[in-house]
Symmetry: C2
Subunit: 122 residues, 2 copies
DNA sequence: CCTTGAGCCTGTACCAACTACAGACACTAG
DNA sequence: CTAGTGTCTGTAGTTGGTACAGGCTCAAGG
């Protein structure tokens, strides 16, 4: 249906981002469209890297029914900033790693620029 | 000395990437240069995003004293690939987020492109 | 000499965001 | 009727640490 692991949904119920659904006579969870919609919202948020705490904030706004574009924009911009920071961090790492690995001979010798870089006293 | 939290060093000892150092008469840990060197190696590896499991592998090679540039290069390249994958993932996220947020009016209105994107049925 | 504050010691619990069981019941196909 | 799969509950494990609690030790100041 949503491709979401059932145990993950249960987890979302536990932490309160998904409501507890009604149960069948045999105690099985019975979901309706509103659950599916909400779960998709959470999944899409997670795909975009929002933490569950941020998702909780977004949902609180939407649940209130009185969210404003301005409020949502603030949350999204905060998240966007953290994403950009992560990209910058990873790019630095990528640069160091790739330029170091490029100096490797790849041979059967103990001398290795990668080890040197990691051992570096500086 | 290394700027590393003492509790982190203890954690490294527990998981076996740092050796248990000798103790003083009062049971205090006594570190020497070899510990400092090893800790710096771990810290630099972590800064470059290697997991502790990967650090363990690197250290196993170095500890054997018989590491070859080729072996190290394989580990480094594997890690480099995962770094590049993460960058690509985050760039996609950054693109979606920034182009969506750019459509926000930021006003006191409930309509919001970010919410629309998260609710999207497609 | 005594106190006070800091440092270290051990062990355990906590964080995110799930995943992976164990043990019990339910349901479906052959 | 039985085998295999699904769900149910609750708990423990994952990664890379951080944050105590409760106890010792040590150095400085009065």
């Amino acid at each position: 249906m949503t491709g979401c692991n059932l145990e993950t949904i249960r987890y979302y119920e536990n932490i309160g981002v998904m409501p507890e659904p009604p149960r069948s006579s045999k105690n099985y969870r019975v979901y309706d469209d509103s659950h599916v919609t909400r779960l998709r919202f959470i999944m899409r948020s997670r795909e975009l890297g929002f933490t569950l705490e941020e998702v909780r904030d977004l949902l609180a706004l939407v649940d209130g029914g009185a969210q404003t574009c301005g409020e949502v924009q603030v949350l999204a911009n905060t998240h966007l900033t953290s994403v950009r920071t992560k990209i910058a961090d990873l790019k630095r790492i990528e640069h160091v790693l790739s330029s170091t690995v490029a100096q490797c001979t790849g041979d059967d010798v103990p001398e290795c620029p990668v080890i040197d870089a990691l051992t570096e006293v500086a």
